[in-house]
Symmetry: C2
Subunit: 129 residues, 2 copies
């Protein structure tokens, strides 16, 4: 999708934003480029989940990390939190419209990794020789 030979300037401008340290997109990128954020988004692409469901689904995540990640994603407007004031607490997490958009990109990345994993591992081994 990118043309490298022509219009290098336009491309540089388009891309220059993330590369400059004071661009607000840097901040969002910092939040998104976190293992737990990525995994939460991938998990939520299957639909609404409760806290404990996410905890069980995302292997290796601690309660603390899950709480923090969900709060961050909520602040950024990617995740919607709905709390039902019932006696055993019931809270549901789901992706917002914006969250679905970014999750699609994130999922494309994780899918790519999973698909190309054999190639990656193979190359890593030939490299050692």
């Amino acid at each position: 999708m990118s043309q490298k030979t022509t219009g290098k300037l336009a491309e540089a401008i388009r891309r220059g934003e993330v590369l400059s340290p004071d661009c607000p997109s840097r901040e969002i990128l910092k939040h998104v480029t976190s293992l737990w954020s990525v995994l939460v988004m991938v998990a939520l692409m299957d639909g609404t989940h409760r806290f404990s469901e996410l905890r069980r689904k995302i292997g290796g995540v601690s309660e603390k990390m899950l709480t923090q990640t969900l709060q961050q994603l909520e602040k950024d407007g990617f995740v919607k939190r709905v709390s039902y004031p019932v006696v055993p607490p019931h809270v549901e997490y789901s992706l917002t419209t914006l969250g679905s958009g970014i999750s699609e990109q994130v999922e494309a990345l994780t899918d790519w990794i999973e698909i190309n994993l054999p190639t990656i591992i193979e190359l890593q081994q030939t490299q050692t020789q």
Copy 2:
């Protein structure tokens, strides 16, 4: 490990790999979901760069971080390092075929963020009220 899903089994299997803590894709994801890795890949999509070029291009990166990130990306087979044994050192970094593949996914993510940045910021502010 144990899948409790009733209907979406195929989907769960497809996506279940990153969600399990002992899958090797987790490791790659850890490397890739790092601010500096993302920015290096985006920068290298414009073509081959020297170390100091990258340092200047990626705002806010320290020499140490750039070195570490490049070494990690090289280990994973995403970046190719070519060193010319000349008197003022000359080293060129570029994306491998594999690196180009993952960088496209990463770039799609950063592009999405930049495009939707106004919406994100807007929503963050209405949320505060």
